[in-house]
């Protein structure tokens, strides 16, 4: 039997289903040599804004059991500098790029997407809905469904490439929100984004990060992410979902595929092991061989749930 890791997300193709998640792979020109860019399934860029952002004060990170709290505050060179200085290195490596679009309001989201969607090498956009919405008092975009739809809808209308919506599993009706994003024009979903987390330094009576409520990522997030992927893909089996949250090895990735993911993204694990995505892809291949399954797509949603057929 011939085994292939290639995946096809309704026409969006990757050589293997393991991408580097947003914000965990430097910016582009500065990716360290330890990461084999050309061996990645794809790269999701840092979340990009229109103007360069200096980000949050330090400390920006703290550890928590099985997780990482980070509050970088969207530090990024701005979309134009990214296109000029960072994208070429990724293009040269031949790795497909998913451009992560951030913004402080509707207009900025649109303008960033307008620049990114027509760049060679950028194969899809991912809308970062945890961006603080300055037009709504700084609350995250995902806090209001009308705002999510407004932004996702506007980007989907202008974009010539597939658009994924990314949010944490915090919205009141996860499946309903996912469905609404798709109706607004999203091609797929990236589930899940980091969850809000607070680290407290009791000795100093201070939060552990300068922005007190940080994003929690890492293995602690995995069951939440799996549940989100499972619920959404059960409800909409034809909509591509990229699973992300605490994937550290091949088994974790296979779990996401079985739960319904079409591809996966690796974030925190990359910070610890720069070879993680390549090792995870190899782990998926080993699993396919062991189970006699031809491709990752055949694993999708194959979770055997009691009382269900198949």
């Amino acid at each position: 039997m011939k085994h292939s890791l290639a995946v096809d997300l309704n026409g969006l193709r990757f050589a293997h289903p393991v991408l580097a998640a947003s914000g965990c792979l430097a910016t582009g020109h500065d990716v360290p040599g330890l990461v084999d860019l050309h061996k990645l399934g794809g790269v999701v860029s840092r979340s990009l804004t229109l103007a360069p952002l200096k980000g949050a004060p330090t400390p920006r990170s703290a550890e928590t059991p099985s997780g990482l709290l980070s509050a970088v505050g969207l530090q990024n060179p701005g979309v134009e500098a990214f296109v000029e200085h960072d994208l070429p290195r990724l293009q040269k490596a031949g790795v497909p790029v998913v451009g992560s679009v951030a913004g402080s309001g509707l207009e900025e989201f649109i303008r960033v997407a307008q620049i990114l969607h027509r760049q060679p090498g950028v194969v899809a956009l991912e809308v970062y809905l945890s961006s603080p919405d300055q037009e709504r008092g700084g609350e995250p975009v995902y806090a209001r469904l009308d705002r999510i739809l407004e932004i996702v809808g506007a980007i989907a209308r202008l974009s010539s490439i597939p658009v994924f919506a990314k949010f944490p599993p915090l919205v009141p009706d996860l499946v309903g929100t996912a469905r609404a994003c798709v109706r607004a024009g999203a091609f797929g979903l990236t589930l899940v984004d980091a969850m809000p987390g607070l680290g407290v330094d009791a000795a100093r009576l201070r939060p552990k990060t300068a922005i007190p409520v940080a994003g929690m990522s890492g293995p602690a997030l995995k069951p939440l992410a799996l549940a989100a992927v499972y619920q959404v893909t059960r409800a909409m089996p034809d909509v591509p979902v990229m699973g992300v949250g605490g994937i550290s090895n091949g088994t974790d990735a296979v779990e996401f595929l079985l739960a319904g993911a079409w591809a996966v993204q690796v974030g925190t694990a990359l910070l610890v092991n720069p070879a993680a995505p390549v090792e995870i892809a190899r782990g998926i291949l080993d699993y396919l061989r062991e189970k006699g399954v031809g491709s990752p797509a055949e694993l999708r949603g194959r979770l055997r749930v009691r009382g269900e057929q198949g």
Binding site: D30, P32, G55, P57, R60, P65
Partner: protein, 290 residues
């Protein structure tokens, strides 16, 4: 930067600190003072992130060729496990990382100031400066005798050395800042290097600016990855052309910086500024946060 599986050659206690020597020729060959290595924690541990340590020693020649040594405080976060590591175990090591101290081309007299385990990279630097024919004087500080890193080695490496402890258990009672002006005058220092607590570094930076002495400092900031991926260890550094500042990553653009270019106020935020040590010693006064 290389990633290797490196064998532990030996481990030893140095006062309050622990030292590990690794066999890692690919890394050791390239290492310069100020650079650091990143060590992975064992799998299955609740704390995931790699730990980062300044390099204390690397040997390119002789019987110890291809080895490098780093020093840590076993009470630090996640370093308890490392203190239990034994010879012949293997560690997942990435290095060398970061920018090293630069050596002065023409200036000769170097004053090296360090506190606690900051002495580990500083002693490595002293050795390299000496090998380049520079004059090296040192000011070494710590809380107490146990935390003074290798005082005898310090004496051997330097023309003169002032040892300062907060409780007076070794050398003079006080902080490195107390003897800094005197040390500069006596040694005729033309360049200052430092590795110490942030508040101490800031005071040394102010001193250097006032006296117009060029300086280089190895700073510490929370690092999640250590290899430039995550942007969590940033330091606000003024651009060379003065057109503004950038939040630079301490892991790739540092950890050695020119202190005159660091925006200390911005970087340290609301951390209380250290007051000068009174002559009677350190009453440990902590300002109440909030």
């Amino acid at each position: 930067m290389r990633r290797v599986r490196a064998e532990v050659l030996n481990t030893r206690r140095l006062g309050a600190y622990h030292s590990i020597t690794l066999v890692a020729p690919e890394v050791a060959e390239r290492v310069r003072p100020g650079q650091f290595v990143s060590i992975a924690m064992p799998e299955g541990r609740a704390f995931l992130l790699r730990r980062h340590f300044s390099i204390h020693q690397s040997s390119r020649r002789g019987g110890w060729a291809g080895t490098l040594e780093f020093v840590f405080d076993p009470k630090g976060p996640g370093t308890g496990w490392l203190a239990e590591v034994k010879a012949h175990q293997f560690l997942d090591v990435i290095g060398p990382l970061g920018k090293a101290f630069a050596y002065p081309a023409k200036l000769n007299a170097c004053l090296l100031v360090s506190e606690g385990h900051g002495s580990a990279p500083i002693f490595f630097l002293a050795q390299e400066l000496r090998a380049r024919g520079k004059r090296v004087d040192m000011v070494v500080g710590a809380e107490d005798l146990e935390h003074v890193f290798k005082p005898i080695e310090g004496k051997r490496l330097s023309q003169t050395i002032a040892i300062m402890t907060a409780d007076g258990s070794l050398g003079e009672r006080g902080s490195v800042l107390d003897v800094l002006p005197q040390a500069v005058e006596q040694s005729g220092a033309q360049v200052i290097y430092a590795a110490a607590r942030r508040s101490t570094l800031r005071s040394i930076a102010e001193f250097c600016t006032e006296r117009q002495i060029p300086a280089q400092m190895a700073i510490e900031e929370h690092m999640a990855c250590g290899i430039g991926l995550c942007f969590t260890c940033t330091v606000p550094v003024i651009r060379k052309d003065g057109s503004g500042y950038d939040n630079l990553r301490a892991c790739t653009d540092g950890p050695v910086f020119n202190p005159a270019r660091i925006l200390w106020d911005r970087w340290m935020g609301d951390e209380p500024k250290m007051t000068p040590t009174p002559p009677e010693g350190f009453p440990v006064v902590r300002s109440w946060p909030g």
